[in-house]
């Protein structure tokens, strides 16, 4: 292909856009609409993911120590725990800390504990262990359980189980939903382009009769598709960012137990995926739709 011909085909692509205003508008709006919906789901998935991560980091095991253990040994045990596989963070609670914490927990009823001093209270010393990943909780717990210095060990099995199950379900569900939506988006948009092509089937067949090669006919459509995809992607990004921004400012950064992901963090993945989908869909939609009509 001569460069001059490519220039011509590019110009044709732009001309098509101008010539078929209704169709162009329809196709661009379809792309925007589909991408917008896709974006909403993407935002939901991001936020679920973020929340799951936050919750994960809150899973902890509490190890209550036997009263007869010496302070030196306690320090050694702390080191030991920190070195364990899957352990994120270890924090120590002395008898005094424990009493203070309980008083706080009881609030107004805290007076009930007045009789105890910081040293003589019956509450045990303990380590809280933050676990990197909820799936490792059980392993870490069973590893500690049998140690001689352990009085008792506590972790919310149910919560761990639930979080484990729910986050993985959510993650899978989110991925499945995003895939379904990506396919649906591609489908809707390529349908739109297909209809646009159908309404120009006469034009395509005439080009064939005049002796145009398949690629000569295809190029302007492909370029047109790509241009529409890019335009749609940019507008959709603007729209979804505007939407999310107003949501953030309303919800004040959090909603229920969900910590909302800040807008800077979602911008890049959204505009990139939008552009990718827009362009791919635009081009594929055109190429696939034309194929049938090239066989003249």
């Amino acid at each position: 292909m001569k460069p001059r011909t490519f220039g011509y085909l590019l110009k044709e692509g732009f001309k098509n856009i101008g010539r078929n205003k209704v169709m162009t508008t329809a196709a661009v709006f379809s792309i925007i609409a589909s991408l917008f919906i896709f974006g909403v789901v993407l935002l939901i998935v991001f936020n679920v993911q973020n929340t799951a991560d936050t919750l994960d980091s809150q899973v902890e095991i509490i190890v209550y120590l036997k009263d007869e253990i010496s302070e030196a040994e306690v320090r050694k045990i702390g080191k030991q725990l920190e070195a364990m596989n899957g352990v994120d963070e270890v924090s120590y609670q002395s008898k005094a800390d424990a009493l203070r914490a309980m008083k706080e927990q009881l609030g107004d009823s805290g007076e009930i504990l007045e009789g105890y001093t910081e040293e003589t209270n019956p509450l045990p010393r303990s380590f809280s262990i933050k676990i990197h990943n909820p799936e490792w909780v059980r392993a870490v717990a069973s590893n500690i359980e049998d140690k001689p210095w352990v009085e008792t060990i506590k972790y919310n099995k149910e919560v761990v189980d639930t979080i484990e199950r729910v986050t993985s379900a959510m993650r899978n569900g989110g991925v499945v939903l995003v895939i379904i939506l990506a396919v649906v988006t591609i489908f809707v948009v390529s349908n739109t382009i297909k209809l646009a092509v159908i309404s120009r089937r006469r034009e395509i067949s005439i080009m064939k009769y005049v002796g145009a090669s398949d690629w000569f006919i295809r190029w302007p459509f492909v370029l047109e598709g790509a241009i529409l995809g890019i335009i749609g992607a940019f507008i959709a990004t603007l729209a979804i960012m505007f939407f999310y921004d107003s949501l953030l400012s309303k919800a004040g950064g959090f909603a229920f137990f969900v910590t909302l992901v800040p807008i800077e963090q979602v911008f890049k993945p959204i505009i990139l995926s939008f552009l990718a989908i827009g362009i791919v869909v635009g081009i594929l939609g055109s190429v696939i739709s034309i194929r049938k009509y090239l066989k003249v």
Partner: protein
């Protein structure tokens, strides 16, 4: 140039439009294809353009067997053949100028050539003043002349015209025929399907007569047959 050997075309619905045709057209000839409505004239033309493939038999165009032609060779075949279609087949969304220029863009002509050639051809068919109009803004005869302009703009070695004067008044029709004759004199093979008795009779060129799918008459310096 073009040769049909034992050619039969039966459409998918069972209708045999051409049966066992043998016909040879030499380079530089001017051939009238005549016959009643439905005799198979347009079918013959569609076969030459490889718009349709024969059911049996062979068509050779410039030595190539069209039945065995690969898909991607078809555009090259068509670029050698200028065609005025019976139903014009103009691009509705392009102006007259663009319709003609398009045929040159397809063969990757240079911008300069296009700028020179297109206005020349348009003035040849008498449509210089309509260059910026869309086909829907033209009269039937004007559309037909645009189709002719498009067909000749690339100086094809074969020019096929299916009823190129059907929508023209006698004067304009004669002008067009004069044009075709001139193009033919410059060496282009011209094949014209027509019902215009006057024209056939006064030009005295080769006339091939079809009747219900078979050639009933083929003579040099022929006349429009009197079947009535």
């Amino acid at each position: 140039m073009i040769e049909f050997i034992n050619l039969t075309k039966t459409y998918p619905n069972g209708l045999t439009a051409l049966s066992n045709i043998n016909l040879k057209i030499e380079k530089g000839e001017f051939v009238f294809i005549v016959g009643a409505s439905g005799a198979g004239k347009s079918t013959l033309i569609k076969l030459i353009l490889r718009e349709i493939v024969p059911t049996s038999g062979t068509i050779l165009v410039k030595g190539k067997n069209l039945a065995k032609m690969k898909r991607r060779e078809i555009p090259l075949l068509r670029r050698n053949i200028g065609v005025v279609f019976q139903d014009f087949r103009l691009l509705n969304e392009r102006t007259v100028y663009e319709n003609v220029a398009f045929a040159m863009e397809v063969v990757e002509a240079s911008r300069k050539e296009i700028r020179r050639q297109v206005p020349m051809v348009l003035s040849l068919v008498g449509l210089s003043s309509k260059a910026k109009m869309l086909p829907s803004q033209l009269s039937g005869g004007e559309q037909q002349r645009v189709a002719l302009a498009r067909a000749i703009v690339n100086n094809p070695s074969i020019l096929i015209a299916d009823e190129p004067t059907g929508n023209l008044d006698p004067d304009t029709a004669w002008e067009i025929i004069g044009l075709l004759n001139e193009i033919n004199c410059r060496g282009t093979t011209v094949i014209m399907a027509t019902h215009a008795r006057d024209i056939v009779n006064s030009l005295r060129k080769r006339v091939v007569t079809f009747d219900r799918g078979v050639i009933v008459n083929d003579r040099q310096r022929g006349e429009y047959p009197d079947e009535a």
